[in-house]
Symmetry: C2
Subunit: 333 residues, 2 copies
C-alpha cells in the first residue's frame, strides 16, 4: 500500500465507524454554542466549528470510550467538551499569534476583533465545563482541568521561549506537551474513564494520546518549514516569522558554526528578517540534517503511541488508532 | 452614625471576623498561582493578586459557609476559586477594554502584553477548576461553570451593546448580571452548598449575592461619571470614552430632546468625542435627574439583598452582610 492510501484511510475509517456518534456530537456542539442573549457568540464559533476541522480530538474520545465497551450517552458530551476546549484555545491563540490564517480561512480576530476572540473563547471554555458536569463524573473534570492548566502553561512557556536561542529540546517538549499532547492525552483518557475501563487501559489510552500528540506537533512544526500552503491551510514560515524555536531549529542552533550562529541571532533573537532568510534557514537545516533528525523523533513517538495501545483489548477501533498514529507521521515520510 | 463610619466598617469587620480563613485563602492563592515551568505566570498574577484588591468575593464565600455552620477545609478552596475566576476576568477584560488603569496600577497588558494577559487568565481559570475538583463536590463545579458562562455572555453582550443607543434597561441588567452579579451570586451560593445548608438558605444566599452585585455595578457605573480618580482607582469617564451604555446614559437617551439625541448619536454611536463632551454628558444627565434615578435603583437592589438574608439564621456574619449591602450603596448616597 502506497503512502498516499495509508495517509488517507485511518481518519476516514474512524469517521465512518463513529459516524452516528459524530452526528450526536455535532448536534450537541451546535446546541451548546448558541447563546440566547449574545448572538455574536455563535457567529464567531460557527466560523471555527463549521470550518471543517478534522474533529480529530472528539473522535479520539469516542473511539476510546467505544473501544472500552461504553454504551451510555456521555462520551458524546465529553467529545463535545474536548472540541470546545480545542476551539477556545484556537480563538485565544489567534489573539496571541497574530497569525493571518487558520484552517485556510481568515482568523476570527480579523473578521471580528481580539475582544470577541477572547470572550467567546472564555464562553466555550465555561460551556465545556458545564458539559462535563452533566456527566456527573468528577474525575473527568479533574483530568480536563489539569489538561487546561497544562495547555495554558505550555502557551506561556512558548511565549517566553520564543526568540530565545537558549531554548532546549526539553523545553520544546514541555511546550509541545502543553500546546498539543495534553489535550490529545486527556481526550483519550476521559473516554476510558467514562467507560469505567481498568486503570491499566486508561493509562494506555493516556499514553497513546500523549505520544500521538507529540508526534503530531513535531510533524506540524516540520511542515511549517516544508509543507505547502495548500496542503496545511496555514502559511509556511509562520513559525520562522514569529521566531519560534521549534525542534529542527533548536537542533540546527546546537550545530551552528559562527556564521550560522550570527544568522540565527539576527533572525530569531533580534527579529531582523530579510528577503531570502527563510530559504537560508531551510538550507542550513538541510545541511545539518535537522529536519530528518526531527522527523525520526516524530516516528519514534508514533511508535510509542502504537506500543501503548497493544495493552488494550483487540478491537477494530484499536487497529484504526494504530493506523492513525502511522498516518500522522506519514505526512512527512 | 455618619455615612463615613458606615461606609468603612462592614468590610473591615468581615475581614476581621474571617481573618484566619483569609490567611489560608491567601496562602492557597499564592501556592496555586505558581507555575514550575512558566515563571511569567506568577509575575503577571502577582501584579493583580497582590495589588490589594478588596477580596470582596472570596470573603462572601467564606462568610456564607461560616454563617451556615461549615467547619471543614473546603470553603478556603472555593474562596480561592472565586478570586481566581475574578482575576482571570480582569486579565481578559484588560485585553478587551484597552483600559489604562486597573486598581490604581497600570494594567497587566501595558506592563507585559495582550498575549500574557490572555494566557495567564486561561491558566487561572483552569486552576480554579482544579481547586473545585479538590472539594469533591460536583454541584459547586456546576454553579461556577454556569457563572463563568454567564460572565462571558455578559461581556460579549456588553461589547455588542456598546455604541448602540437602542440598548434597553433590560439589556443593561443582563450585562450587569453577567459582568458582576453572576460571580457575586455564585460566590455566596457555593458557600451554602459546601456547608450542606438547606435549599431555602442556599437560595437566599444566591439572591443576596445577585442583588448585591447588581447594586455594586450600578454604583460603579455611576462613579464612572462622578467619582474621583483617587477614590475608585480608575479614570472617571472611561465608560463614556468607551461608549458604553450604562444606566444613567440609557435613562438620559430615553428622555433626550432632538438636540440631546444628536449629541448622544455623535459621541456614543459615531464616537466623535471632543473636549468638553464628558462635562456636557454629565450636565444632560443632571438635568434629567438620571444619576439620581439610577442611584434609587441601586438602593432598591441593596434593599432586596438585605431582605433576602432575613431568611438566614441569626448570626453576626448575617449582620455584617446586611451592613455590607448598605456600604456598597453608601458610596453614592
Amino acid at each position: 500500500m502506497g503512502l498516499d492510501a495509508l495517509s488517507q484511510k485511518p481518519h476516514d475509517r474512524l469517521a465512518d465507524w463513529l459516524a452516528d456518534d459524530m452526528v450526536a456530537v455535532n448536534l450537541l456542539i451546535r446546541d451548546r454554542m448558541a447563546s440566547e442573549h449574545a448572538p455574536r457568540i455563535p457567529e464567531v464559533t460557527a466560523h471555527l466549528v463549521e470550518a471543517g476541522g478534522k474533529r480529530l480530538r472528539p473522535m479520539l474520545t469516542l473511539a476510546a470510550a467505544r473501544l472500552c465497551g461504553y454504551g451510555g450517552p456521555f462520551h458524546v458530551h465529553l467529545a463535545a467538551t474536548v472540541e470546545f476546549i480545542h476551539t477556545a484555545t484556537l480563538l485565544h491563540d489567534d489573539v496571541v499569534d497574530e497569525s493571518e490564517r487558520r484552517r485556510g480561512r481568515p482568523t476570527a480576530n480579523l473578521l471580528w476583533d481580539n475582544k470577541s476572540s477572547v470572550l467567546v473563547g472564555d464562553y466555550l471554555f465555561a460551556r465545556s465545563f458545564q458539559l462535563m458536569v452533566e456527566t456527573g463524573r468528577i474525575e473527568v473534570l479533574g483530568i480536563l482541568a489539569n489538561a487546561s492548566a497544562t495547555i495554558a502553561e505550555g502557551e506561556v512557556l512558548q511565549l517566553t521561549a520564543a526568540q530565545d536561542l537558549a531554548t532546549t529540546e526539553a523545553v520544546y517538549l514541555q511546550v509541545v506537551r502543553g500546546k498539543t499532547a495534553a489535550l490529545f492525552a486527556a481526550a483519550c483518557e476521559v473516554g476510558g474513564v467514562i467507560a469505567d475501563a481498568p486503570v491499566g487501559h486508561i493509562d494506555a489510552l493516556r499514553d497513546f494520546g500523549d505520544a500521538l500528540g507529540i508526534a503530531f506537533q513535531i510533524v506540524d512544526d516540520l511542515l511549517d518549514y516544508g509543507g505547502s500552503d495548500a496542503s496545511i491551510g496555514k502559511n509556511t514560515g509562520d513559525d520562522f516569522r514569529e521566531r519560534k524555536l521549534t525542534l529542527p531549529v533548536i537542533k540546527a542552533v546546537a550545530l551552528a558554526d559562527a556564521e550560522e550562529r550570527a544568522f540565527w541571532e539576527r533572525v530569531i533573537e533580534q527579529g531582523d528578517q530579510r528577503e531570502g532568510d527563510l530559504a537560508r534557514a531551510q538550507a542550513i537545516m538541510a545541511r545539518h540534517g535537522t529536519m530528518a533528525a526531527a522527523r525520526d523523533e516524530a516516528l519514534a513517538w508514533a511508535a510509542r503511541a502504537r506500543a501503548a495501545i497493544t495493552l488494550l483489548p483487540d478491537h477494530p477501533l484499536r487497529a484504526m488508532l494504530d493506523d492513525l498514529a502511522g498516518y500522522v507521521v506519514a505526512r512527512i515520510s
